[in-house]
Structures are given as structure tokens and as C-alpha cells.
């Protein structure tokens, strides 16, 4: 990159940054107004929970101070941004706003989409191990295995799948947030995993084929390993324990390891066992 191009790039970066500063300054001002208003609704001098209050013990004291301090800072941020933008006015034609590179845009959207679906939609509703496999399959499939072109079609297909899933969940609300969790809804996740595996773009060369093999090992092994460590070694119950945990890992763990220490139900009569089952 030539010296002139470097200067232009630096100015373009500063120009975009100052625009973002101006916008964030305005948002910050709006936040301050809301924050100060909320703080004024807190007990200041009146009594709360039977305790007479004075202004300096009020829970509003710090929030008010924060809001009051943030306002001049937000104004300084906006003024500084405007001053710098004004100074750059003469070079506006050379530093046209440059959007993020299309590959990076897709990367950002794809990553945020995966994280939001994983945290807000999948984890609270389906078996943790299965949804973690799905999460890794999507990210490792898209970023590690696929080329840039393949990633785009992978993203589009997954988006369609997510929309289909949401429609299904709207039609059959019983699929989500069931208490106690129903293993059958996890079959849906299993089907999506299989669909994802079938949908993986074909490897274009031996190197990509090697990447596929390595990536799939990680996709399937890591969630099982992490789930096992947390559930059986650290004794942390997983967020939702469904199909995989109940039908596979519990069975394997309790058959292989716990049986050596004797079964907790040893010596319990069939009637008592049935009563226990009913109770829980």
C-alpha cells in the first residue's frame, strides 16, 4: 500500500469512527435521560420498607451521580466527533464510507446468528449435548470446513431451517419450554443435525476432505466430553438433560461406573420402587 493510500485509509477509519462516536454519544444521552428519570423514581427522602430515608442513603444516589456525570461526557463525545468530522470536510470525496468486506459481513452475521439461536432458542428448550453438536456443526462447518462461497449457501440453508423450526415451534408450541422436558422434541434436533450433515457441501479437494474429517471429530467429541466432565465429574446438571443425556450418557455411565459401587435401588422392594417412581 502506497503512502497516500495509507493516509486515506487512516482518515477513512477516523471518519467512520467519529460518525460512530456521534451516534453513540446521542444514544448515550438518551440512556442518561432514561437512567436519571428511573433514579428519580427511587425512594429519596420518603420511607421505604418502614425505614425513614435521607437523600445520602438513598439507593438513587449512585445512579443519579452516574447519569449526571455521563451527560457532559456524552456531549464532549458528540462535540469532538463533530469537530473532527468538520475538519475532514475537505477530504470527504476521498474517504467515502466503506462498508465491511462482504466476507466479513457474512462472518459476523453467521456468528451472531449461531450464538443467538444457541443461547436463546436451543439451550433453554432442548438437550444440551445435542444442541451443542448442532452449534459446533454450524460454526465449524461454516467457518472451518466451507470455503467463502460454500459458507454463503450454508448460511442461507441454515437460515431457512431456522425459519422452518420457528414456524414449527409456533404451530406446535409444546415443542418448546416443556416441564418436565420431553425427549421426543429432541428428535427434531437430531433430524436437523442429520439434515445438516447431509447438507454439508462436497469437499473440493483432499485438503478440504481432511478438514471435514477433523472438523466432524471435534463437532461430535467435544460436546460429549464437556457434558460428561460437567455432569459426572463436576456434578453440574446440564441446562436441559434430554434424549442424549437420558438415553445414552446416563445409561453408559451408570452401567459402566456406578454399578461397581452397587445400585442405589438394591434392596428396595418393587412396590417401594413404584412408589418412588410415582413420587418423582
Amino acid at each position: 500500500m502506497g503512502e497516500q493510500a495509507k493516509v486515506v485509509a487512516r482518515h477513512r477509519e477516523l471518519y467512520q469512527l467519529r460518525w460512530m462516536d456521534a451516534i453513540s454519544g446521542v444514544l448515550l444521552l438518551a440512556f442518561c435521560v432514561w437512567e436519571i428519570y428511573s433514579a428519580t423514581q427511587m425512594p429519596m427522602t420518603e420511607s421505604y420498607a418502614g425505614v425513614a430515608n435521607v437523600w445520602y442513603v438513598s439507593p438513587a444516589l449512585l445512579p443519579l451521580a452516574i447519569g449526571v456525570l455521563l451527560i457532559p461526557l456524552a456531549i464532549m463525545l458528540i462535540t469532538r466527533a463533530m469537530r473532527d468530522l468538520g475538519a475532514m470536510k475537505s477530504i470527504y470525496p476521498f474517504i467515502k464510507y466503506q462498508r465491511m468486506h462482504i466476507g466479513e459481513q457474512l462472518g459476523f452475521m453467521s456468528c451472531v446468528f449461531a450464538l443467538i439461536c444457541y443461547v436463546f432458542l436451543l439451550i433453554p428448550n432442548f438437550d444440551f449435548i445435542l444442541v451443542s453438536v448442532l452449534f459446533l456443526l454450524y460454526l465449524i462447518g461454516g467457518f472451518y470446513y466451507c470455503t467463502d462461497v460454500q459458507h454463503w449457501s450454508w448460511f442461507k440453508r441454515t437460515l431457512i431451517l431456522a425459519v422452518a423450526l420457528t414456524i414449527l415451534a409456533l404451530i406446535f408450541p409444546s415443542l418448546l419450554s416443556q416441564s418436565p422436558h420431553n425427549d421426543y422434541s429432541d428428535i427434531l434436533v437430531l433430524v436437523i443435525i442429520i439434515a445438516g450433515l447431509i447438507n454439508l457441501p462436497k469437499a473440493e479437494d483432499p485438503a478440504q476432505s481432511r478438514r471435514k474429517k477433523r472438523g466432524l471429530w471435534v463437532v461430535f467429541l467435544v460436546p460429549v466430553l464437556v457434558g460428561t466432565i460437567f455432569k459426572y465429574m463436576l456434578l453440574v446438571p446440564l441446562p436441559i438433560e434430554g434424549l442424549w443425556v437420558h438415553k445414552v450418557s446416563d445409561t453408559v455411565f451408570y452401567t459402566l461406573f456406578s454399578s461397581k459401587h452397587g445400585n442405589i435401588m438394591d434392596g428396595v422392594s418393587e412396590e417401594d420402587a413404584a412408589a418412588l417412581n410415582d413420587a418423582f
Binding site: L17, M20, D21, S24, L28, E35, S38, M42, P43, Y48, A49, V51, N53, V54, Y56, V57, S58, P59, L61, L62, P63, I66, L69, L70, L73, M76, L77, R80, G103, E104, G107, S110, C111, V112, A114, L115, Y118, V119, F120, I123, P124, F128, S132, F135, L136, L139, I140, F143, Y144, G215, V218, V222, P223, V226, F230, L234, L235, V236, P237, P239
Partner: protein, 508 residues
């Protein structure tokens, strides 16, 4: 003398347990990998390990967390030396001379120097923990609520001032947003729900670990995946040799850099990266060959690596004595200690007089294990560096999620972690520093309750600030820090400085 005896007893006790030795070496090695991998940081490493170790007993957890911290700060030098890409911000200064030196003399020689320099830095930092902690604790016991409030405010302001890469006010804004986030939940004096929107999950406030994992983990994941960072293949290392002769010749640099590291580490909220750069600049200033800096000088590499590891000890001093973390990984350590029912602060030495000695013993063992791992396992670390980020970053995402959930067994923690992570990502894009935001969240409860308690005692008067020397000093520093960023004050200060210097010249 008694302390020295206890120090050796602690070391013997730790070494007599094979589990602890295993945990020590595994955590150090894991730390080196976390430090070496660009995108993974010491803070994230300590955060993820906190969730894994919280069910362990206190000593094992502490050994594991400190070893991870020491290893990660050192590990950043690998990519700095082998690929000219610092693994952590702390090693950015190391890349300046480490990379050209590796090209010229071989990576084994540079890694030998950085490994030994880092170990010496950690040990000197540890000595300062032992020497200074009792003195600061004694002083802190005299502190009133006003001093604690001003200390918290000072931490937020100084962290905001020194960590901003763009405008300083962005650091202050981040700190104040963090402080506001700490007010979410029921306040500790009247139990009044603030900014909870009627959600009972927010009553107990934001879970610090979830905030930390979100703020430090999610932006790294998005950034690494978005750009699909591809690292060049690192050079294979044959042998890493410590050069004790070179180290001895650079003894003044080692001592100077250690002091800089400890000093910067002790300042709340700023960490190893700043220590590395300041030490590099000072070494250049004192060097006989300043022009050769940047061409691969052993002196430069030693200065940055000694100081960033000495910073660990420095960061532990305010953490253990005042409950104020000195660096971002120390923020996470604070959270981890509290999970184990250890409340850092002046009362810690009274309740558990041997705790600081135990921490020092662990730091010594961690630096020895780091040195052994560095000298013997360096070639394996370089192989791990070949694993592409696009393969391991999704796994880190999974660990962030289970880590945030596991500490409170609440799915709601995830609903906090992700939005905070996304907010942090956008703030980083707009060049807002994240450390002041997190330090605001951590020190917020202390600032809030101390301020109100202090005003309660003084019946609403702020006069005690000006009557007590420590609070007056803190108050003056805060005011000066703020004024120093205001343009007209800057020009006034410059004018006064010029006047004084011209008068001085006239008188001579």
C-alpha cells in the same frame, strides 16, 4: 523469620501432594496454550478455569488459577516470537525485537531468554507481594468508607484513562457504564430493586463471572471467526536453551523492568500490556544502543517479558490487600476467590494470616513449572499453534456458554452473558476499552455502599474527604487525572511549565 518458615512449609505441603503437582503442570501448560493462541487471553483462560475448579478444594483451585495466569502471560510471547503476532496484548512489545531476533539467531534462543526472563519476573513480583502486602494491609485497616469509595473511583478513572486507545473520555464512559451495570439488582443497604424491570433473576445483580466471560470471550470469538484469521505455519523449534550469561549481563534491565511491572500491576485495572510497553520504552531510554531497538536485541526481549510477568505480583497486591484487582485476569481471580468464600481485602490477613504466604508459594511454584514447561515443551506448543482458529473458536464459544451457566446453574446467566458480549464487541469496534467497564462492574458495589455509609456517618457532609490525608490524596489525584484531559487545563499546565522552566534558565 516465621513467615519465611511458613513459606517453605507451604511449598513442602503443596509439593507433597501429587494431585497438586499434576494440576500445577497441566494448568501452566494450558495457560501457555491460552496465551500463545491469538484470540485467547489470560483473562478468558482464568475465567473458563474458574468454572472447572469451583467444586475443587481451595488450594487446588488456587494453584490451578494462578498457574494458568502465569502461563498465559508468558505464553503470549510464542506467537510474538514465531509469527510476529502477539498471542496476548501483553506480548505486543515482545514482538518488536523477539521476531527479528528469532529470524536471525533462531527461535530457540529467544524463547530460552523469554522463558527465563518471565520466570524471574514472576518471582520478583512474588517477592513484592510478600513484602508490600502486610504494609498496605496495615494502612488499609485505617481506611474509612470515604477512602474505599475514592479508591474504587480512582480504579475506574485510572483504568479508563490508561486503557483508552482513542479518546480518554471513552474509557471513562466505559467505566461509568460498568458502574451503572453494578447498580442493577437490590441495593445492599435498603434492598431496593434498581433497574430490575420486575425480573426476579436480576434481584441479586449481575453475575460477575458471566459478565467477564461475555465481555472478554464473545468479542474474541466473533472477531476471530469474522475475519477467518489464518496463521502462518510457525517454525519448528529444536531446542530451547536458557542463556544465564546473557541474563546476568542484563541484570540492571531485569531489576528495572521488574519494578516497572510491579508498579504498573499495582495500579487498578491496567495490566501486563501497558507494563510491557512502558518497560520497552524505558529499556530503550537507558540502553547504550537505543538505535538498535527493533532489530532484535536480547535486552529488549528481556525487558518486556520480565515486566509483564512481574505485573502478576503487582496486580495481586491491591487484590489481596484492598479487594481491588490490579489487572483484567486479577478481576477474574477476585471472582474465583469469592466463589471459594475468600473475600480479599484488609480483613483477609487478619482472618487468614498465612494466605498471602500461601499465594506467594504458589506463585513461586507456578514460575518454576512455567520455566520447566517452557524449556521442555515449547515444540509441542508450536504444534498446537497450527490448529486453525476457525476450529477452536467455536469450542471456546461452547465453553463460554457452559462456564457462564455452571456457576449459578441459571440459564438466565446466558441471557446476560451474550448481550453483554455483543455490547462489548460493538464497544471494542468503536474503540471503547473493556477493562474499565468490567472494573466498574466489580468495584461498583464497593463504591455504592462505601459512599452511602460514609455519608451516613458524616450526616451528608463531604468534609471528611479533606480532613484525612489518604482520601485527600486520592481525591486530588482523581481531580488532576480528570483535569489533565481537559484541553484548556492542558494548555494552562503547559504554559505554567514553560514559565517555570524559563525562570529556572534565567536564574542560571
Amino acid at each position: 523469620m516465621q513467615d519465611l518458615a511458613h513459606f517453605f512449609i507451604s511449598i513442602a505441603q503443596l509439593l507433597s501432594q501429587p494431585v497438586i503437582i499434576l494440576v500445577l503442570f497441566c494448568s501452566t501448560f494450558m495457560g501457555i496454550i491460552f496465551g500463545a493462541m491469538p484470540g485467547l487471553t489470560a483473562t478468558l483462560g482464568v475465567a473458563l478455569l474458574t468454572t472447572l475448579t469451583y467444586s475443587f478444594n481451595e488450594s487446588i483451585a488456587l494453584v490451578s488459577l494462578l498457574a494458568m495466569y502465569v502461563g498465559a502471560v508468558y505464553g503470549g510471547s510464542y506467537t510474538a516470537i514465531l509469527l510476529n503476532i502477539p498471542g496476548t496484548a501483553a506480548s505486543a512489545a515482545t514482538a518488536m525485537d523477539g521476531y527479528p531476533m528469532a529470524q536471525r539467531d533462531g527461535a530457540g534462543r529467544v524463547l530460552g531468554l523469554t522463558t527465563t526472563a518471565s520466570a524471574i519476573g514472576t518471582i520478583i513480583g512474588m517477592l513484592f507481594v510478600v513484602l508490600l502486602s502486610p504494609l498496605i494491609t496495615k494502612m488499609a485497616l485505617q481506611f474509612t468508607s470515604f477512602e474505599y469509595f475514592l479508591l474504587a473511583l480512582f480504579g475506574i478513572i485510572i483504568s479508563g484513562t490508561l486503557t483508552s486507545s482513542d479518546l480518554v473520555i471513552k474509557g471513562w464512559i466505559a467505566g461509568l457504564i460498568g458502574l451503572w451495570m453494578s447498580t442493577i439488582g437490590r441495593d445492599q443497604l435498603l434492598m431496593y430493586p434498581r433497574f430490575t424491570f420486575g425480573n426476579p433473576n436480576l434481584d441479586s445483580g449481575l453475575e460477575v463471572v458471566a459478565v467477564l466471560i461475555g465481555a472478554f470471550g464473545i468479542p474474541q470469538i466473533i472477531t476471530a471467526l469474522r475475519a477467518r484469521v489464518k496463521l502462518a505455519k510457525p517454525v519448528r523449534i529444536k531446542r530451547v536453551l536458557p542463556e544465564f550469561g546473557t541474563m546476568l549481563r542484563n541484570l540492571p534491565t531485569i531489576i528495572r523492568s521488574s519494578l516497572i511491572g510491579v508498579g504498573i500491576g499495582a495500579v487498578p485495572g491496567i495490566g501486563e500490556d501497558i507494563a510491557g510497553w512502558v518497560s520497552y520504552g524505558t529499556a530503550k531510554k537507558f540502553s547504550k544502543t537505543p538505535d538498535e531497538f527493533g532489530t532484535g536485541l536480547p535486552e529488549a526481549v528481556i525487558s518486556t517479558e520480565t515486566s509483564n510477568n512481574a505485573c502478576i505480583g503487582g496486580a495481586m497486591i491491591p487484590l489481596l490487600t484492598l479487594g481491588i484487582p490490579g489487572s483484567p485476569p486479577a478481576m477474574m481471580l477476585l471472582g474465583a476467590l469469592m466463589l471459594h468464600n475468600i473475600t480479599p481485602g484488609p480483613m483477609l490477613l487478619i482472618e487468614n494470616p498465612n494466605f498471602i504466604i500461601e499465594v506467594a508459594a504458589i506463585l513461586l511454584l507456578a514460575s518454576v513449572s512455567m520455566w520447566i514447561c517452557g524449556i521442555t515443551l515449547a515444540r509441542y506448543v508450536t504444534r498446537i499453534l497450527e490448529v486453525p482458529q476457525t476450529l477452536f473458536m467455536p469450542v471456546i464459544g461452547l465453553l463460554c456458554v457452559i462456564g457462564s451457566y455452571a456457576l449459578g446453574l441459571k440459564i438466565f446467566n446466558l441471557f446476560l452473558m451474550l448481550p453483554i458480549g455483543l455490547l462489548s464487541y460493538f464497544l471494542i469496534q468503536m474503540k471503547y476499552p473493556i477493562a474499565p467497564l468490567v472494573i466498574g462492574v466489580i468495584l461498583g458495589p464497593m463504591a455504592d455502599t462505601s459512599l452511602r455509609r460514609a455519608l451516613m456517618v458524616s450526616q451528608g457532609s463531604i468534609a471528611p474527604i479533606f480532613e484525612r490525608p489518604v482520601s485527600l490524596a486520592l481525591f486530588s489525584i482523581i481531580v488532576l487525572l480528570i483535569l489533565s484531559q481537559i484541553p484548556w487545563f492542558k494548555s494552562l499546565f503547559g504554559r505554567v511549565q514553560r514559565e517555570i522552566s524559563s525562570k529556572f534558565h534565567h536564574s542560571h
